[in-house]
């Protein structure tokens, strides 16, 4: 049943992916200016050679079909901008960086957010709850590109504890500020979600029964409340992964991290068609996959649902 469901979902994702690639392909190609437009004009002969080399002299639909056929073979094409590298090379170096950043930020957001949410719900309408709620609203309201420069000023320039940017030696200290900035709004959202659903669960009749039985509160929370209360958080993980991905585009620029987000921005500005498409394809697949995983976890947690 499970495998059939997964297979169905994966097959169903193919048309979505194709439509996405199609739209992205035509959008990047319709942007004015091309990859070889530069401050210094190149001669017509050289331009013609470059166009031929990168198949830009072909009609657009042929280029699209060529792109698809090499994509099926796992080849994302040469980068138009970084002439020594293929898009596969670039993704191989950039993706692990972004993945690390994203996974750590997401885990941090879930763990910290759930904990804060539970603490907040248990102390409902008390001072601690008020502070956590104020913190959550602030976390949602202040964008990363405002938080980041303040973190840099404080921790890198004044205290000198952390590097102001870069990802040079893969040190844990390089990751602290970007992860914190990226996770902050997600921690805030998850805290709010967890608090709300926890309060609802704590008010339900079976919890009242457990309380009446004299079960200590930590056992009530651990054994009986977390599982039902976490469902809204799980369903939020799909959009959250998308938010982490788009958030990393900004964070990677600010901290100078050589990840996919930076490729995407630079690729779009340089009209590096293949690089932009490569990032779109990969991120598209990731988001579809993340949604599938979330649905699977959801069904596992909620016995009322079935694979259908």
């Amino acid at each position: 049943m499970l495998w059939k469901y997964i297979a169905q979902r994966l097959v169903g994702a193919i048309p979505t992916l194709l439509v996405m690639i199609f739209i992205a392909f035509y959008l990047v190609h319709s942007a004015p200016g091309g990859p070889f437009d530069a401050e210094k004009e190149i001669s017509a002969e050289v331009k013609a050679n470059l166009d031929r080399l990168y198949q830009l002299d072909q009609p657009l639909h042929i280029q699209f079909l060529n792109y698809l056929s090499s994509l099926i073979q796992g080849d994302l094409g040469p980068s138009f901008r970084y002439r020594d590298w293929s898009v596969n090379d670039l993704i191989q170096t950039g993706f692990p960086v972004s993945l690390k950043l994203g996974v750590i930020a997401m885990s941090l957001a879930v763990v910290v957010g759930c904990m804060l949410g539970i603490v907040s719900a248990l102390n409902r309408n008390q001072i601690l709850d008020d502070w956590i709620r104020i913190g959550a609203v602030t976390g949602i309201a202040i964008p990363g590109f405002v938080v980041a420069p303040f973190l840099i000023l404080f921790f890198a320039i004044w205290l000198g504890w952390l590097p102001a940017g870069g990802w040079q030696y893969n040190r844990p200290s390089d990751m602290l500020m970007p992860v914190a900035t990226l996770a902050l709004p997600q921690i805030a959202y998850i805290t709010k979600l967890m608090r709300g659903s926890m309060i609802e669960v704590l008010e339900s009749s079976y919890i009242r029964t457990a309380k009446a039985k004299g079960l200590p509160i930590y056992l009530i929370v651990l054994r009986h409340s977390i599982k039902p209360a976490i469902l809204p958080v799980i369903s939020y993980l799909g959009p959250a992964s998308a938010a982490i991905i788009t958030g990393s585009v900004v964070i990677e620029q600010i901290f100078g991290i050589p990840g996919m987000g930076r490729y995407f921005v630079q690729g779009a500005m340089n009209r590096d068609y293949t690089l932009v498409l490569g990032v779109v394809v990969l991120y598209g697949m990731l988001i579809l996959l993340a949604n599938l995983i979330v649905d699977l976890i959801y069904v596992w947690l909620d016995p009322k649902l079935r694979y259908e």
Binding site: A31, P32, G33, G34, D37, A38, E39, K40, E41, I42, S43, E45, V46, A48, N49, L50, L53, R81, Y82, R83, D84, W85, L90, T93, G94, P143, F145, V146, P149, F150, I152, L153, A156, I157, W158, L159, G160, W161, P163, A164, G165, G166, W167, Q168, V250, Q253, I254, G256, I257, P258, G259, R262, Y263, Q266, M269, N270, R271
Partner: protein
Amino acid sequence: MVFSVLEWRTICLVLTIGIQLAGCNPERSNRHYSPDPAVLRIGNGTEPQTLDPHRAEGVPAANILRDLYEGLVSEAPDGQLIPGVAEHWDISEDGKQYRFYLRDNARWSNGDKLTAEDFVYSFRRSIDPKTGSSYSNVLSCIDQVEAIIRGDAPLSTLGVKALDQRTLLIQLKAATPYFLSLLTHSTTYPVHRQSVERWSGQFSRPGRLISNGAYVLDDWVIQSTITLKKNSRYWNADHTRIDTVVYHAIDDPSQELQRYWANELDWTASIPVGQVEWAKHKFGSQLQISPYLGTYYYALNVSRPPFKDQSGLRLALSMAIDRELIVDKITAAGELPAYHWVPPGVLNYQSKSSIDTALSPVQRLEKAKRLYYQAGYSEDNPLRVKLLYNTSDNHKRIALAIAAMWRKTLGVETELINQEWKVFLSQRKQLDQTQVVRSGWIADYNDAWSFLELFQSDHGMNFTGYNNPEYDALLSKAAIENSQTERQRVLQQAENLLLHDEPVIPVFFYVSKSLVKPWVQGFAANVMDHHYSKDLRISKAGHLPEPE
């Protein structure tokens, strides 16, 4: 969004600087900072497209290539030309033939001998349209280059020949006084034939790149860092003091400044717009500002109304600009107001012409008004122009100021149009649409030709539609002129004619701006802003100034 991401970041930077100026200045870590004498960390702007010297473009790539490769001729820290791979050279009497004698100990980083044949191969590759070099045109002073680029002659006819292993002969079309300085340009660097052929073009990657300069490529993390290590096989390796040079790709000057401030960089590529005063206050003598061979200008499209056949109107617009105000209040980093086209500091050339600097500012404005009225415009019938610039805070401020000056003095109504860089690049070529286009030109080599050639009628960078046979004839004459004095005179005539016809409004001459830590020794300013890491060293004695 009310503000763009970039604007937000600028706001944040200004805020943080505000807090700093307000007196909170702990900077505990900085006082104890001790530099590593073996490592130089350079902020280098955008990520280079490639480290293939024949296909690379732009200043960031050129900076790295200067460390990796060495051409026939090199430069001293002050910019003077010195022998590179060629130990010495002879120039024929007519100035058309150069004979270079290569060093016996010139080697590639893998130990192979560097021969004259390597240079022949490299020059041919650089010019071959198949390579896709955007700079092949700058070599057109060499015999047969233009015909080869057009496809009319085979590569083997190129005027670069190896007489023996150590002697290279270069035949020019005409005496070209700037030829030696051209040989410091990356497009003339030698490449290692076996590795180019083995990796079919994608050879400039770590583990593949074989170079002949003071450094070799050690590591390259795209969008992050390019690390170079000392090349022990370089002929003058004993004099290279810094073992490792790390180039950081940082496109945002604000981020670069933060990292410099946090002692993570020893040298920045730039300074954020509007922060020069603050940087002066904060970093004192670490701020390096020096003249740079470049002109910031507005190109006027003379091929269509309102500027077609209206040289008086064009001059009026030029004269109505208060350039002193722009360099004092807007750019504010010591730029020079530009009243002519070729910047000062160019070798063997002195601009003789100027846009009526003999007049007082008031007289100049009066003359501008008179010319404007003569062109048929008035308060009731104002000139309406479209000013196109690429999106950037700096260009916007300058455009706003100039539009205000035009409006105040003449009553011109200016529509400002900003476009993203690539859109701008394709738009500026559309002569049937443009009117005024913001531009800037940085010399590829130190010669007046590098500036004046732009306005030849068939030049690829001529976005004004300017087509004056007399101007073209003067440049053609200068191109084959053997006498330096006479050549200067002809070029001066051409510049004079250009300023008379006024298809271009020069606004200011650039300066190079960077921050250099006090422990970096051997740094010298030069008009091309070319620096070689091999000439630098890091001294532990260099200390940070006492915090205010």
